[in-house]
Subunit: 550 residues, 2 copies
Amino acid sequence: MERPRRDDRRGDKMTDLHVYDTTLRDGAQQEGLNLSVTDKLAIARHLDDLGVGFIEGGWPGANPKDTEFFARAARELDLRNATLAAFGATRRAGGAASTDPLVRALVASQASVVTLVAKSHTGHVERALRTTLAENLEMIRDTVSFLVGEGRRVFLDAEHFFDGYAVDRAYALEALRAGVESGAEVLALCDTNGGMLPSQVADVVHDVVSTLGLADNAESRVGIHCHNDTGCAVANSMAAVDAGARHVQGTVNGYGERTGNADLVTVVANLQLKKGLEVIDGHRLAEATRISHAISEVTNVPPYSRQPYTGASAFAHKAGLHASAIKVDPDLYQHLDPKGVGNDMRMLVSDMAGRASIELKARELGFDLDASDADDSALMQRVLSSVKEKELRGYTFDAADASFELLLRHELDGSLPEFFTVESWRVITDARGEADALSEATVKIVAGDRRHVRTGEGNGPVNALDQALRSALAKAYPEIEHLELVDYKVRILDAAHGTDAVTRVLIETTDGTTTWTTIGVAANILEASWQALIESVTYGLIRAGVPPLT
Amino acid sequence: MERPRRDDRRGDKMTDLHVYDTTLRDGAQQEGLNLSVTDKLAIARHLDDLGVGFIEGGWPGANPKDTEFFARAARELDLRNATLAAFGATRRAGGAASTDPLVRALVASQASVVTLVAKSHTGHVERALRTTLAENLEMIRDTVSFLVGEGRRVFLDAEHFFDGYAVDRAYALEALRAGVESGAEVLALCDTNGGMLPSQVADVVHDVVSTLGLADNAESRVGIHCHNDTGCAVANSMAAVDAGARHVQGTVNGYGERTGNADLVTVVANLQLKKGLEVIDGHRLAEATRISHAISEVTNVPPYSRQPYTGASAFAHKAGLHASAIKVDPDLYQHLDPKGVGNDMRMLVSDMAGRASIELKARELGFDLDASDADDSALMQRVLSSVKEKELRGYTFDAADASFELLLRHELDGSLPEFFTVESWRVITDARGEADALSEATVKIVAGDRRHVRTGEGNGPVNALDQALRSALAKAYPEIEHLELVDYKVRILDAAHGTDAVTRVLIETTDGTTTWTTIGVAANILEASWQALIESVTYGLIRAGVPPLT
């Protein structure tokens, strides 16, 4: 049959590998993830900035929210790099694609690419779809042909392909052949249940590419869609590309049902920085960390600190042994330059680390210390003693970068800017019978020449203290309004003494651009929380460049 | 040279693959993870339950905490499956192993296995270790020989092996050869910087196995130690085993520096359930989810819900399409039966585990339930629903045996003995200037026909509440004097909302003979603590056989 016209080719990059993002569709299947249309538009803009070739926006027709997304995208989204794809399914059994309302909704979405999910597993055709094997093939042919005739590029998602291949290889290949012969440009092999290992994926992809004649110069191509149920989503995607796939699907931050989809940034970074394939523009990849975190803000799923390449800990070093060697040559202890993905090396200060970590951390903060200089060496010794002394009492600076920076600044400058002094604070929590407990805090502080007494309420004592402190500081330091407490962690140390033990509190704060963590340690949990709150605010005001009134 | 005596062979399993856990050493390098000696002992017991062959406990001599761990382990740990390994380094350049204090500390630790980190990368020898290539080989030979002579099994961790191999293959192999010839039983190839991809790992392992003649029946074996910087730690470990490695290192929950180490449970589950190798006892693997979460409780690192196999979402389904098909046949939409790793399609206590523990616990309480009896079965169903409903709200009964028993008694008897009713409680915490904060609690309760109003003071709000409650109950129930609160744990759930989130409190109480744990969950941390306190006292009075006055 004649090939369809395909005038929109922006998704095809120089190495001719499709980078196909499905964060907005398959990623949104993640437990606890709920995206509004506005959220989806915001994420699409981030994905375009990242330089992916295709953005799968959702299933118009099946889901009113997704129908609205495509309508608004047509008006509001001005994509510079990516092509929008609409997801849908082959027509119903026994019908015709041209009159199937869901298929027509795909055309109506105006997306130039349509990705059709199709069955290729005999068990799923017979038991889930409940139709015949022959009719399923006809559904693929009819739907693909119709959409191609409507001027769409059609990609086929062969659902449960690997499991289907294991059960009935001939039929699985037949389903793909029905797609190719009808004009599908991509045959994405889906490991829908996520149970595959790299060697299996490699074998199957290799077989499909050679049996169907889909090597490099063919008009249609094989794609790959992996889930992480064996912890191998990234490796499976890489194995497929090695075996001849030229289209990779994934999601940002590996969002997705169950264990998630292949993390697209990790796959791209591996292909680009490890294997030397230029799949997206290098300067865009260098935005990956920022974009990954920006998308976390939209989804409200806390970023995973151990995420490869973009995680907050991905280039963080704790061992003292490492730190001293890193000073000699950072490349001895990192697998590549974190700048390639817009991340940074960070030294964690803990009792394991020594002078080298402090020197590096100081450099990160813009202070160049020289261990061979006597003054600098004495200063480092003071910082080290202070850190060790505090860590003995339960502090842990590897998790509290902002508190460490305050400690370091204190030693470097001799003091810290004092924005306010605390006269007193008090929290009352009470409950009557079965009613919920309520907390009320009163703080008395002096900022400049004024005394501020304020009360805050909250559903917990720390929440109430936070409210009262903000209220008391708002006049003197309006910048405090931009600070938001985003995480609160408590750990009881020295468990042998029950509630008499020392409590460690970590508070994470954001100013909308960046986040920082402060620590408090005290016998009293509220005192520890108060210390961490005070440091969080002090750090925030220093960052904002506010001069102290006192 | 003569092979050393090796009388402790418990780490060798039926398929002759070492499962080597390094959670306590390399895992503890994770940002924010800080383990006390007691924590480490608790984790070691969980690892032994999981059935790993080896537990690397730490670096005795280099770290006082680890020295203490080995001393206490020798007295307190009664491992049934695992062998304890001490981690250390080759001796200092220019010295002798027999007089090196750090090497002697390894012998003093009494661990029968010593894992020695050694350099195999020329750049690291010259720039980080700052010695000659020849001396490094001599350090390996001397240290391995000395320890073997002391009757230890010696495993060698070839640090930066893959990077070193790329720079100077001959030297990297020479370092391994120095180990084998001196009697090292394992040559663990470490991807220390974590930058490798599976195909590279496979090629290098294959080369090492064939060049050094370390195939299946050789006395020494190749091992693998991976980090997740390319998202391929699990796949790299699998690729190494495919290529001939017979020793796999990893950590529970993939803890570790930067992006973490290979997740040992995922690797084992892949090898066992996907590739059919029996590397640990199947009934132990079926405890993996429980153990993974129990270890999270000790580390206080929130469990990652998308973690393969053991994550709360790992077998959770959201897509409506899937849900209806799952009813037809669950195997259509899951890659394997979650029971194999003790997980479930829901994220709560699994139906199987739930029923079994209910039956067991009921028998303990003197109620013989029979699942085939209709009444008993209905009762179990009620308990199970109640547990699931509470777990949805943040409760976790795995860690709160006493609260679970109270729930069960409530269903069995229709009600619980009511020792007292709470009219109200209140806590005030305040601090003035630099002084320590003080807490004061007042509780009003009714026991029998008397109302008791008492105030307690403490260095923290929960401590004050505990004091006030005891004081108020002392007249009515003098038995309360024997109860002591020994541990208090707090976890903030749903971290996205900072201090607005739900708080889970676990309280451990002892009566001098036994200890029990109760749980409280509420938005307000003090309310959650109060709930757990009340249950702790109620349980203690029931245990003491005290009749309620009311």
